[in-house]
Symmetry: D3
């Protein structure tokens, strides 16, 4: 059961309205790493959690994130307070209102559609979606997802701090940013308080595949590091020789029942392409007489381009 | 530059078609933790990465995930091969086709809309969205997100293995699951190969807020653990006394220019609610004569419910 | 600031697990009229509200809806408790797990992706989206939207009650349903406590257009009612004669600067269609020799169909 | 069956092109309260309606809204006519075109992706989604949703009028805005022409829960009003004492079959957290030597912040 | 199986950073006609394809599109390189960073959320969705969809070329644009290499309905062309006389079982509207005393508006 | 301006209710290739069209598609008529209603959320999105997109016909399917009535890149066909030798201003990975003692898997 106290967790003092800044702040209100995403990630995990300790932790932090949602939403509301009133009362000339709404960011939609209220969208106006929530019902996954989410929320707050020079907003954002650090610490403790937390789930991996590093991207820039080199890694560089990695031929097949096989053949025959054909096509019908080539020059003085002959020579 | 070899990384041998199972497998094709999400997470990070080592790592794994997308997609295609042909050729009676398509899962949409081809949806038919991608352009965030994503992909493969008894599919899923374990290991190495990786970003937190644990969820079930107890934590239990955590009064305010303030007052006055009123409402107009109460009994034999008097007594 | 007490607002007693029923209950957890939508609708309104009374009301009900989110989510968690454990521990045979997951509804995704935890999706697995939230920052709009939303939430609970015979679930749903009724009553009071609440906003309508009823759908079934008949309505039946309703000619035009006009002409000329042509098309290239007509009979014994001659006779 | 007359319901005269204004107008073309949303809300209701009168009403207004979609879309097309041609013919310098496309709002996407045609997106470029449609197949819900939707559409038109000084556009918007007022009136009549329209659906609420007001948000700002005070309300202020509101203990439980219970225990044991542990974590591995605190000063001259001691003193 | 070579298909030389231009380029990275959409359209088709020739073609082009995704993503990364560093290191004043991020387009979200990395969104920040993918598992549909998609991708590249004056970017875009032309040619060949490719699927149409043109939009502007005139078309102008086109009465009906019919009657009766009523409504309760009409003048000098009498005269 | 006649374009006679079939029919009501998508594709093109002939064509077909939306929606309403009434009146036992709602497909959501009314979702319950609309404001693109869309709509109707044995539904679907064929023919005529329709747009391609076929997918299955072989193609098989196709080195670069370059270096240094390190990681902390390998046998009897030695031998 939730209860609410009208005091905020952190006092919000905004120096002056700024709807464009408000629309940027939405990133942490209705954005992918914002406070609603955080609250709902932990809340949904908490409801399904079997372990008393983690359940308590998840509900504690979920509840705190709701309080942070309120803090950031209050910042947005304060930054929009002037624009909201001006538009509702039409107290400025049309042209002035138009200019104030198209000054940058996505503040136009905030004014037009949401009337200056804080909306659950990100800074581009994209509505919040539960697709942001990656709760999976396995505690070692979920704790890792929470750790990552806290580290992401931290960096977005840092970026918001870097673009704000209103001291009251900076203060509140500094508080919110720091709490993400504290939450990450808690989730790290909770992860490692599970004795056997790697790999996630119950099923171990197949040993011979667990230590392979497949060097799929090659050429200048191939680099060694502890992630692909050392005692615990077998690196595969020659994919042509080693793949497929099983004993098969690398194809996909299915055993069809007789009836299915016959019908599949019928379908294949009906839709077969004729490799010997050279059909007239829509392109032939539609390429007008003026369809000449453009040259590098047409494109604005670009430098000399590799000769077409080179391609023609390719085997 | 990408190149493709028609051999799969792992051979796919499916025993018999099963469109319902195919629709479940889509979770790892077009689902939130599926292979497209993995490939695109690492690929977008790799393009923006400044560090040669991590760039190489990200492109290696992104490319491998594309190969895994091909493996899981090939499993889907094989499981759907019979249904695809039967529907295209209408070789069964209408009623049979209808029954085969409504046998469970979301295979009906797979057949109707996608014609049995592998679609970039999850197992409920929800189209893949880049909202699943949490690349943030900060390597310590991104490596943590990748670690978490790999642990999630691992568990979904484990669940798919648990519901499949086709040995060829189990084999291929076992390979794919194990590769997620290997990738997690690589991303862990890459995270800790950054000397100062906590907290993410550059800005440190405000010290006094970094060690506080706010016990927002109270009552039976409150639990101690390393995430809220011990030397590094200051736990706040009495929120009423300690919040707001700053020196302010816990309200939100903004300094409005004179003109804005006047207009805001005008708006407030125009839309004020009258607390003294007892207005007739739409409910009064619309509650018909038959709107009696239902009792617990009406709801199907539910047990006695707390007396309303109790509520009336509440202060 | 939010606080949480581990007791639920209403005790949840579930008779036995039922993952399919759980997936239906999600409609009120992560669905369009579910508790998150309700909580967020009121919370976002409350943050931007200027009137003390409505602000208090909105935060009261927003907070209560979060508690209801917890109740319905707990029902889901209990209904899924068995399936969650069976899948995580793989304690049943693969085939049994497969059957239990494809027994109906969308429980397969709940198990596969969310591991039996309550997910913020609707009963079809569609992730919750803030597109459901219709807060507009004008109190007479917002109160009307809230009234409508409560009436919708009520009916969805009624439908869930109608398909459940577990007495403990029925009890809890009955409580939740009734609270929506109470909330509707509060929002009705709040709407009519604003003296001048119609139309929304500040700008009155243009009188002559405000009382017109345009009878755009005609034919058998045209019906009179208080919504289009009586002293306050002027009904337009002959659209051809009365439209456009202004003095213009019903076209759309814009005054282009000379340069724009010249370029627009150039574009029109370049992409003009030749009405006199009878071009060969892709259809001509592609219609194979076997493309004969199907008859009503081919479609399965359908009845006689209007003669093509009739169409040919049409002027 | 729909028919179309090339005359608009209202003549559109635009003074000069303005792609940024066009992108704002999209809010009523492809936005949440725009004309497509309106048309589709009523059309889907009309198709399923059993009452002849409401069915006629719904189809009348749905059809009119399609005509309004045409009017607002024509305004957009006229405002974009110059930009469309200039970009298609590349008749300006690259730099000029670039500047004209990044002058504000979301006109860049309108030009790049939609080529200046009216797109079914809102003013932020978010594609229209049927998630906006709240038809529920119960007429008392649906009429209330329609009333609310009309009041919202009215306010968005009002806001667009307030930012436009083109007289022809203002005229057309004034007409469209007023029609929403007329529609609201019709839907109100249709709602109250149902004798027993509250609560929605058939099932009455549980009497003792229908008159309770739960004062969940407390502190300075608690306000009385007709929505929580008076004869018809029992207000609960002391949640701790009165909740859960039933006779239970406020927990959630389910009766598991023996087998399920055993497996659930196994899962709990396997993933238990050890509350006594103080595990080393990723944070310990990753916090570099330079991770010092930031002070309020670092954040840009913010005022003095509550002493950490205060928190440490909390019980 | 995919492999990657660190060389790009086309060298990317960017003259100087420009985050706003970067955000426009995203249209072809994560937009509807962008390279990911292309790659995934062909890849999903290729996996399910039965014809060896088309399968090879689809995988060839899918793979090339991934390489193009890399090229366009690299352009984005280069254009963002300065902004990414400046924000991460906070090396500029807050106000400067704020200004640089709100200079136009959607670059603010690119910086805030994605940290300057290329994101899978379009130029408005809308996340890529698999709803863009229209693979249907029928080769004649799919080839037509591919042809159309290539023609769309071509035009978006053309528009990007038209707004760019950086020669290196123009070069690379010119290459990418031209490749779409080549791909369209290949897909045209593949379509017409299927002997019987029209209509799609196997079922022919009903002959008498296949040649009708229904002239549903009438009035000034009705135009003849090869699409509705000539030997192969029977045009219907008088819809009232010819519709429904079958022998029925143009209604919708279903045969209900007795029980269903009785219940449907009960529902209809319960929710019937009373056409004779003239109910008081919420509007009557809420229209305040000041709700006077606005005139054309209020709307800013609009011209005279058609007299209301005209409407009143309508039959 | 739209008008509506209550007669349908085609009479709908449904034999008996079937909510599961109804939910499948939604694919053409609110699905990607459904009638709303068609109507809106042509309507949005028509509004922006400069050519009188195409504008007329587009509005004709858009309007007809709205009439088809009504036909398919009426089929859905009839199929749901019984379920709608039964659930609204709760005239069956809870258990019966539960069973009827979970009988397959997505009919549960149709009943729960939409009350049996036709909803703008596809057959999986995914809400319709304007992301389906690919209008681009260039007529040669748009006509091609329309041709493709009609061919897709045709195949989905064919699939629906194949699973239905209700003769009245088959009749109506046969009509709708055939109209898509007719529309495709019209759009083909309109495309080729533009003299110069290939490539789309105005800018020609760069000649030397327009005729290259890049054979990116190699290995068994490489196939020749008119799409990659013949006089008009230069095929590139050796990518390593010929790529990048320009004269550059295949890298991406940008010229940074001095200040930007310095900051970028600082960022790179701060977040550099140490390739020489072998850091302890979270995996080391978390891999429990029981994390042994699984064998093929654990996975359920899978066949022998390629020896790990093979991988170890890889260079």
């Amino acid at each position: 059961m939730f209860m609410h106290n009208k005091r905020l967790q952190y006092t919000v003092r905004v120096s002056e309205p700024n709807p464009v800044l408000a629309s940027l702040m939405l990133e942490q209100f209705g954005g992918a790493d914002g406070e609603l995403a955080a609250a709902m990630r932990y809340f949904t995990q908490g409801l399904g959690e079997l372990d008393a300790g983690r359940k308590d932790l998840l509900l504690d932090i979920a509840t705190e994130e709701l309080s942070h949602l309120e803090v950031i939403g209050s910042i947005v509301a304060m930054l929009n307070k002037g624009a909201k009133a001006q538009l509702a009362e039409a107290a400025m000339e049309e042209a002035e209102l138009y200019l104030s709404m198209t000054a940058g960011g996505n503040s136009h939609t905030q004014s037009l559609l949401f009337g200056g209220g804080p909306s659950l969208t990100n800074s581009s106006g994209v509505p919040w979606t539960a697709a942001y929530i990656d709760s999976r019902g396995d505690p070692t996954c979920d704790m890792r997802s929470n750790i990552a989410a806290e580290s992401r929320a931290k960096i977005v707050y840092e970026r918001l701090i870097n673009i704000t020079d209103d001291p009251g907003i900076k203060d509140a954002l500094g508080f919110l940013m720091t709490r993400e650090i504290a939450h990450q610490k808690s989730f790290e403790k909770a992860l490692y308080a599970i004795e056997d937390n790697f790999p996630s789930g119950k099923l171990p991996g197949i040993e011979k595949f667990a230590n392979i590093y497949v060097n799929t991207s090659q050429g200048e820039g191939d680099t060694d590091g502890p992630w692909n080199t050392g005692d615990q890694w077998v690196r595969i560089d020659d994919l042509d020789q080693t793949m497929p990695i099983d004993d098969g031929d690398g194809t996909a097949s299915v055993t069809l029942a007789k009836n299915d096989a016959a019908v599949a053949d019928k379908l294949a025959a009906r839709t077969a392409s004729d490799p010997e054909s050279d059909p007239e096509t829509g392109v032939d019908l539609g390429a007008g007489p003026g369809a000449g080539p453009i040259t590098g020059e047409d494109l604005g003085g670009a430098e000399d381009i590799k000769d077409a002959a080179k391609m023609a020579d390719a085997p």
